[in-house]
Symmetry: C2
């Protein structure tokens, strides 16, 4: 977490508990690549909105997509400033005092203006990556997007130029005077795991369910 | 999802795929009560921000808390309009076409202005609920907040008056022409589960780790 490739901007500089901050791309990329959803923040008519959606990172941009009729994508495509935040919850931290209870987490915050991806080849690359991100190689096996589906889909790219990560790991940080308090203290790690797959009818006989790409390493 | 206690406001009315919308409080409350984190959206100097934090619902309000020095809480306490969004990811939906891939999820979006909780008794109630939400009854076992800790903690309450839920469940919705495409289709449910607890030193001898209250029912 000490290797700084990106210098933080004044706006992405982590103000609270700055020792939890990271600005290096390997840390940022790993969080973005593991999370299944991001939260897109934008402002419309004086009201902030936060909309969850799927995403995929390709090199130095984070891509989101959806219906061309989506309010969120409409705003993003028109050059509005966005904030996209991704959060992974890794564990519950049980301290001796109520005050020091916490969560272990890894989060990334990206600020910037998105560009609408209009070139069909780039759009197809992003849509394939969104599928492959769920299960490697799957985009080549499924029915590819039609021209009509491409037209109905808006894709936005947000550069990672202004991004920061915040990470908490480890056990409770109790006050010295509380260490003998007679209560269990420690961490309960959390894991997001796939359960047995539920097949849709009609079945494609002889086909195996996809292997889900969850890269979570709980801690 | 058809029981409408709350009429949607124009701003919380779900525009995309409205059949996935719910405005009834039992649906909204269950999602808020299960999620460990929410994402708070606010606007500062022309830039939206989205900050993850823990929350607890008590009756008709959602409470968030943190350091009195937090940028997010500072904005919220000064009467800025907020959007708090909570998202649970329940499964990955694998369709026959790239286009119809999706996630099963449950999300809640709340709009409004928060009030700062200044009365010490209410503050203590909220802080206890934030701990008990992680493990039932724990707030009575841990060292209670001191006056100094209370002063250093800002608590905001956002009313649930303007809230909506959006829920996707079930399998892929493929085009009829794609049903014979030779690829596996269905749902891989996801579950957030606690792993074996990691005890902090020094140990409180004879104490058992807390039972974590994760109410997720994957589907």
């Amino acid at each position: 977490m000490s290797e700084r490739i990106h210098a933080p901007s004044e706006r992405t500089r982590v103000r609270r508990v700055p020792q939890r901050a990271a600005y290096d791309r390997p840390t940022i990329d790993a969080i973005l690549d593991e999370a299944l959803v991001c939260h897109v923040g934008f402002e419309g008519h004086g009201q902030p909105f936060v909309i969850p959606t799927t995403h995929v990172r390709i090199e130095d941009e984070l891509y989101v997509h959806g219906s061309a009729a989506s309010r969120m994508l409409e705003h993003g495509a028109s050059g509005a400033r966005l904030c996209i935040t991704v959060t992974l919850v890794d564990g519950i931290v049980f301290a001796r005092s109520a005050f020091h209870h916490s969560l272990n987490y890894r989060s990334v915050l990206i600020l910037g203006e998105a560009r609408a991806v209009s070139e069909p080849a780039e759009k197809l690359t992003v849509l394939a990556a969104l599928v492959d991100r769920l299960s490697r190689g799957r985009s080549a096996e499924v029915r590819a997007p039609t021209e009509q589906e491409l037209k109905a889909t808006l894709v936005l790219a947000l550069p990672l130029a202004e991004a920061s990560a915040k990470v908490r790991t480890g056990g409770p940080i109790d006050d010295a005077a509380d260490l003998s308090w007679p209560v269990w203290a420690g961490v309960v790690p959390l894991e997001l795991r796939p359960l047995p797959a539920l097949v849709a009818e009609p079945r494609a006989l002889g086909r195996e369910p996809p292997i889900v790409a969850l890269r979570r390493e709980p801690g």
